[in-house]
């Protein structure tokens, strides 16, 4: 599955890559919202895993812009952040996120389970 991962921590990025590619995902990485948008221009993923605390353009901004664009507004976005505040969750969900997880609370396996739950078709 084509997955766009928007995350600024390099360790976490490599963990994503190791796990998900190991499961057969096709991964593209963006370090910030702006870069992610640029990638979207020439590559439409089936899933976006989005961190919120990002430099230059944070996750919320990106989400807003992404969902505003007809081309990829229907691509499911799973917010994986270390912010756990209700406000953040609500805001993300209100902006159209399909799901929200707190990274430090779950393992990558759990993450994969979550993805499967979000996307029945694989």
């Amino acid at each position: 599955m084509k997955t766009l991962i928007v995350e600024d921590d390099s360790f976490l990025l490599s963990a994503y890559r190791l796990k998900l590619e190991g499961l057969g995902y096709e991964i593209k990485e963006a370090l910030d919202g702006a870069e992610a948008l640029k990638i979207l221009e020439w590559w439409t993923p089936e899933l976006v895993i989005l961190d919120l605390m990002l430099p230059k353009m944070d996750g919320f901004d990106f989400l807003t812009k992404m969902k505003a664009d007809d081309r990829w507004k229907n691509v499911p976005v799973l917010v994986a952040s270390n912010l756990g505040q209700r406000e953040d969750i609500d805001r993300a969900m209100a902006l159209g996120a399909a799901g929200y997880v707190v990274k430090s609370d779950l393992s990558l396996e759990d993450l994969v389970t979550k993805i499967n739950a979000l996307l029945p078709k694989k």
Binding site: F11, L12, A15, L18, K19, R86, V102, K103, S104, E109
Partner: protein
């Protein structure tokens, strides 16, 4: 003071007037009485004279003997009117040398009358003529002895007789002393003599001719006391005001005044030809009517009463005025206090009329808005407003003006300098008794800094949580991947090592979570979202989860939840956290063979929960600190090093914020029981910005 003077003077004047009037009254009654008295005396004399004239009339007509004489007096009403007052005498004129023959003649003529048995003329004098009393009408015992008395022998009487010849009319004698004739008698009196002529026409003749016709005299004698005294018949109410003495010249002939003479009045009284001096004295026991007598007193008393009443009124007026002044003073002081207080608060306070026109602004308002009080008066708060969407102001106005309810909110305003600031506002409408809007009171607090601070805190927490958690997430994921064999199969030892890394990491994650929760709680930003919660389900879930997560150390967990617990309006996340912490602790410290009891039931107005374990217990010396942040009892530390020391602190904070209480009982090596209550009325919703981290 002036009025008192006036009243006093008035009272005095009235008293004076009344006294004088009373005195006048008294004088008047004195005068009246004097008049009565003198009139009466006069009328007595008049009566005497009238009688004499009547006698003259009778006698002139024909000769009179004792019988005729007697009959005359019987036919008159003299005795009715003046009983015993007068003695009447018929006097003959007899030459001295005919005296004896005269005596015989009379004795003979009156032989039927025992009184004349020894009639003779006495005393024998040397006078050429004698004037014996031939007929006598008297009731006086002493006078009755004077039958035959020669009145010429009395200088006083003969004087009157002589004078009466001269005047041809009645003449009163001077004072006569009966003693001179009747030694045993003390009586004095007066005689009125009247000449009798033989012809009625005598009065028309000249004196000399008349005197040739002189035949007899008649006279009347009256006792001095009788003449001037005994006036009880006159003074009707028998309350004589006066006592009096009567003087004939210098001789006191009638005495009435007893004791001291006061209020002396003198009157000259002329009876016929004689003058008397009457001296009147007010009787000390004479009283006007009670009222009249005491009128001056009454007047004074009235005056006094009026003054007292006046004073009373004055005092109550002054007191009332003083009280009013005091009240006004207090009110003014209070008002000043309030004004000072309001002026001095750092918050912005304004008062507007019902249209929103500013009528008062305090210094705080000046400071915050940047506009001076003068600039604000007469304007509306929109002067520093207008930064919010239209709807905001509409809603605000509707609440305060239409619904007449207070409005609270946060808004952005603009200072005079153009700077934008955040404010918390409270606007209260003020209504009068009829419910009409009369004022608004607007209080603003500049929360820009507070908000900025809050923002900083939020950002810090966000940053902290993110920055701290990210590396931990990385370790967690890689660690788990390693264990999962994603990087190849591990040796037992490698597994062991990685396991330890993971555990340590988990601990760190938990610590960060707890720290985050605490900082959120302490910043007041934890949101409380109460919803009707099935406590049974919640607790049972917690127990199940604990069993799963702590399965290496499973004890037997017994759950006893009251049937039909009402749905509690609580924030399930927060309360779940409490149960989770307590149950996890119970299991953790009880070990494999331990027993854990969880009981939930209603008790009064509370939901009462008990978590009992048979664990290591809390040493007495450390029980006081068990709820402290980061505190871990020594025996717990030894047992397992993983605890953060934050769980109970968090649990306590949540329970207490919910309106409940948490406490425990513990004995080392026996076990610990934790109790906590939650009000059945539920938790209050609190808008917060964060939720608990897991």
């Amino acid at each position: 003071m002036f009025t008192t003077m006036v009243i006093m003077v008035a009272t005095f004047l009235v008293w004076r007037y009344v006294s004088l009037t009373i005195e006048g009254l008294r004088n008047e009654s004195y005068e009246n009485e004097i008049t009565f008295i003198t009139d009466e005396v006069q009328s007595r004399v008049n009566f005497m004279v009238d009688t004499l004239y009547n006698l003259r009339g009778m006698i002139t007509v024909g000769d009179v003997d004792s019988e005729k004489w007697r009959n005359y007096f019987l036919s008159t009403a003299i005795e009715d009117r003046y009983p015993d007052y007068f003695s009447f005498a018929y006097v003959d004129i007899v030459d001295k040398n005919e005296a004896a023959a005269y005596e015989n003649r009379i004795r003979t003529a009156e032989k039927n009358n025992p009184s004349y048995k020894s009639f003779f003329v006495f005393p024998k004098t040397d006078n050429a003529q004698t004037y014996p009393i031939r007929l006598l009408h008297t009731f006086d015992q002493d006078i009755s002895l004077l039958l035959g008395y020669d009145v010429g022998s009395s200088p006083a009487v003969s004087g009157a007789v002589v004078e009466s010849v001269r005047t041809s009319g009645p003449v009163m004698s001077g004072l006569t002393y009966l003693k001179l004739v009747i030694p045993s008698s003390d009586k004095t009196g007066y005689v009125v003599a009247m000449p009798i002529y033989s012809d009625v026409s005598a009065m028309e003749l000249s004196i000399d001719q008349r005197n040739r016709l002189l035949t007899n005299f008649v006279g009347v004698w009256i006792d001095s006391e009788r003449l001037f005294g005994d006036l009880s018949t006159v003074i009707e109410d028998e309350n004589p005001a006066l006592a009096y003495d009567v003087y004939d010249g210098s001789v006191l002939i009638s005495k009435g005044i007893e004791g001291n003479q006061n209020n002396l009045y003198e009157r000259e009284v002329t009876l016929l030809n004689k003058n008397f001096r009457m001296v009147f004295s007010g009787k000390s026991d004479y009283k006007l009517t009670f009222f009249q007598e005491n009128l001056p007193m009454f007047t004074l008393a009235t005056g006094l009463v009026v003054i007292l009443m006046w004073y009373g009124t004055l005092i109550s007026i002054l007191t009332a005025r003083k009280r009013a002044e005091e009240l006004a003073n207090t009110a003014t002081k209070d008002l000043k206090k309030f004004k000072m207080a309001v002026d001095g608060v750092s918050d912005h306070v304004i008062i507007t009329d019902s249209d929103g026109t500013i009528i008062y602004a305090n210094k705080g308002a000046e400071r915050i808005t940047g506009y001076s009080v003068k600039e604000m008066l007469g304007k509306r708060p929109s002067l520093w407003g207008g930064q919010m969407p239209e709807g905001f102001y509409e809603k605000m106005w509707k609440t305060i003006k239409v619904q007449k309810k207070p409005f609270s909110g946060q808004l952005t305003n603009k200072r005079k300098s153009g700077d934008v600031y955040e404010a918390e506002i409270n606007i209260s409408p003020i209504l009068n008794e009829k419910g009409d809007l009369i004022y608004f009171i607007g209080i603003e607090r500049d929360i820009t800094r507070t908000k900025a601070l809050d923002r900083m805190k939020t950002e810090f927490i966000s940053l902290a949580s993110h920055q701290l958690r990210t590396p931990l997430s990385a370790v967690k994921w890689f660690g788990r991947m390693l264990l999962a064999g994603d990087a190849g199969k591990l040796t037992k030892l490698q597994e062991e090592y990685i396991d330890k890394i993971n555990s340590s990491n988990e601990r760190e994650i938990r610590l960060v979570n707890s720290l985050l929760n605490i900082s959120r709680i302490e910043s007041g930003r934890i949101s409380i979202v109460p919803k009707p919660t099935d406590m049974k389900e919640l607790v049972e879930n917690v127990v199940t989860d604990t069993g799963i997560s702590e399965d290496k150390k499973t004890s037997e967990i017994k759950v006893d939840i009251e049937e039909d617990l009402p749905l509690l309006n609580i924030d399930p996340d927060l309360i779940r956290h409490v149960y989770m912490n307590l149950v996890t602790n119970a299991v953790r410290y009880s070990g494999k063979r331990g027993k854990v009891n969880v009981q939930v039931k209603t008790k009064g107005r509370y939901l009462f929960s008990v978590i009992e374990d048979s664990g290591i217990g809390i040493p007495t010396s450390e029980q006081g600190r068990i709820f402290d942040r980061f505190f871990r009892a020594a025996n717990a530390m030894k047992r397992e090093t993983e605890g953060t020391g934050l769980g109970l602190y968090l649990a306590k904070t949540i329970v207490e914020s919910s309106g409940g209480k948490i406490w425990f009982k513990s004995k080392e090596n026996v076990g610990t029981t934790f109790y906590f209550t939650l009000p059945l009325s539920g938790m209050k919703a609190k808008k917060g910005e964060v939720t608990l981290a897991k």
